[in-house]
């Protein structure tokens, strides 16, 4: 079970190189990070997984991009949109993570989308950057969305991932701090451990629904 930060933005998107982010993540207790626009990298004690973060892309393009990156080891994450878009994306083969639920409309992710995500093994991402940097209404809205997400998760059991979405080493938080922040919306330590291992869960090939018994 790998403890993974599901999204970091290395230089030039941020101010830290991918190696430095990886070193910092290792110090903070992670086993791997998903880095945007970065090649795969293996460093002692930590691995960097390339990530493809799609935002503002129509569902059809998401399908084609996900199809292209299939088998390359890239984690495909899509920014949440309206309800119809989310249902289409949650059911798309090759999409691993749906991101940005903290900023979405409250009807954007409903029980139907949750069921599709659970069936298709698509994870929902908990972005901690809004809890760290956000203040007032923005943070309250994010906590409310995450509380709602926890209710749907307890019913449908779709995978979760946790990301710092940091553009700097200063935005990353230790596993212990992540556990504390996630306790704000009702996640206990076991839930956090499972969510931190969520990237490994969604990227590994799933078991076939039909088992052939000889």
């Amino acid at each position: 079970m790998k403890i993974t930060d599901a999204c970091v933005y290395p230089y030039p998107l941020g101010d830290s190189s991918v190696r430095r982010l990886a070193l910092e993540a290792r110090t903070l207790g992670y086993d791997s990070i998903v880095a945007a626009d970065s090649p795969a990298l293996e460093l002692p004690g930590i691995s960097v997984v390339p990530g493809l973060f799609l935002s503002g892309v129509p569902a059809k393009d998401v399908q084609s991009r996900a199809k292209k990156s299939r088998g390359s080891g890239t984690v495909v994450a899509v920014q949440i949109g309206d309800n119809g878009f989310n249902r289409a994306v949650a059911g798309t083969n090759g999409v691993h993570i749906i991101r940005g639920i903290h900023a979405a409309d409250k009807r954007a992710f409903d029980h139907v989308t949750a069921k599709i995500a659970a069936d298709n093994n698509t994870a929902l991402d908990i972005d901690l950057s809004i809890l760290i940097c956000g203040r007032g209404h923005l943070r309250q809205k994010a906590i409310h969305r995450y509380l709602d997400l926890m209710i749907l998760r307890s019913r449908f059991e779709f995978p979760l991932t946790i990301s710092s979405s940091s553009q700097s080493v200063l935005g990353m938080r230790a596993v212990r701090e992540v556990t504390g922040l996630c306790s704000l919306f009702g996640m206990d330590e076991t839930d956090v451990q499972m969510a931190l291992a969520g990237v490994g869960r969604v990227t590994e090939p799933g078991e076939s629904i039909v088992k052939v018994i000889k």
């Binding site: 230089y11 101010d15 830290s16 190189s17 190696r19 430095r20 982010l21 070193l23 910092e24 809890l131 760290i132 940097c133 203040r135 007032g136 943070r139 700097s168 080493v169 200063l170 935005g171 938080r173 230790a174 212990r176 701090e177 504390g180 922040l181 306790s183 704000l184």
Partner: protein, 188 residues
């Protein structure tokens, strides 16, 4: 107001946290306001009043904080939402919680000698044919000349050289390219 006897005093907990990035100068009063704002914005005035957060001292890049016993978990959560102090971006990494300041000071003493000394960016490189080291080493990150400001193991913090965009970058030694001015042949 007279000082209460020890049995009637409120029990406190002391938190040791490292200030990141290394080498940054932070005023204790500014940090107190930043910490208090983080607590109040996350938990509200009632919890902040019960928690009584305070900044005791800043020593050698570490900060000693205090709160009421039993509220250290919430205080640590609030500290993890701290992202800046005045204009500078900082973060506090909680290292230890203790019942006495003295034990945290001992902890600082064990942590500080292990750190590598800061480098200033002007290193002396051995000159050609055994002459005394006079050449300065320039560092580059990609095509961009940078100046190191702090280092710790493989980690190195640099500042871009230039008139604008002189922001701090967080890199590793492997990311940098060393250029020895003295090794360039005369013919070039």
């Amino acid at each position: 107001m007279t000082v209460r006897p020890p049995t009637l005093r409120e029990k406190k907990r002391y938190i040791l946290a490292r200030i990141d990035p290394a080498g940054i100068t932070v005023d204790a009063k500014d940090l107190y306001y930043a910490v208090y704002e983080a607590v109040v914005s996350l938990f509200g005035d009632v919890t902040a009043a019960a928690m009584q957060p305070s900044v005791l001292a800043i020593e050698k890049g570490y900060v000693l904080l205090r709160c009421i016993r039993g509220s250290e978990r919430e205080f640590a959560i609030a500290l993890s939402t701290l992202y800046g102090c005045r204009e500078s971006t900082i973060t506090l990494r909680v290292i230890a919680v203790s019942g006495t300041i003295e034990s945290l000071r001992e902890r600082i003493a064990t942590l500080v000698p292990g750190q590598a000394p800061e480098i200033t960016g002007q290193e002396t490189a051995p000159g050609p044919e055994g002459s005394a080291g006079t050449g300065a080493i320039e560092y580059r990150f990609g095509t961009m000349p940078v100046e190191p400001v702090a280092t710790s193991g493989h980690k190195i913090d640099v500042i871009e050289k230039g008139f604008k965009n002189t922001r701090r970058l967080f890199l590793t030694i492997e990311d940098l390219e060393k250029i020895h001015a003295t090794t360039i042949p005369d013919g070039l």
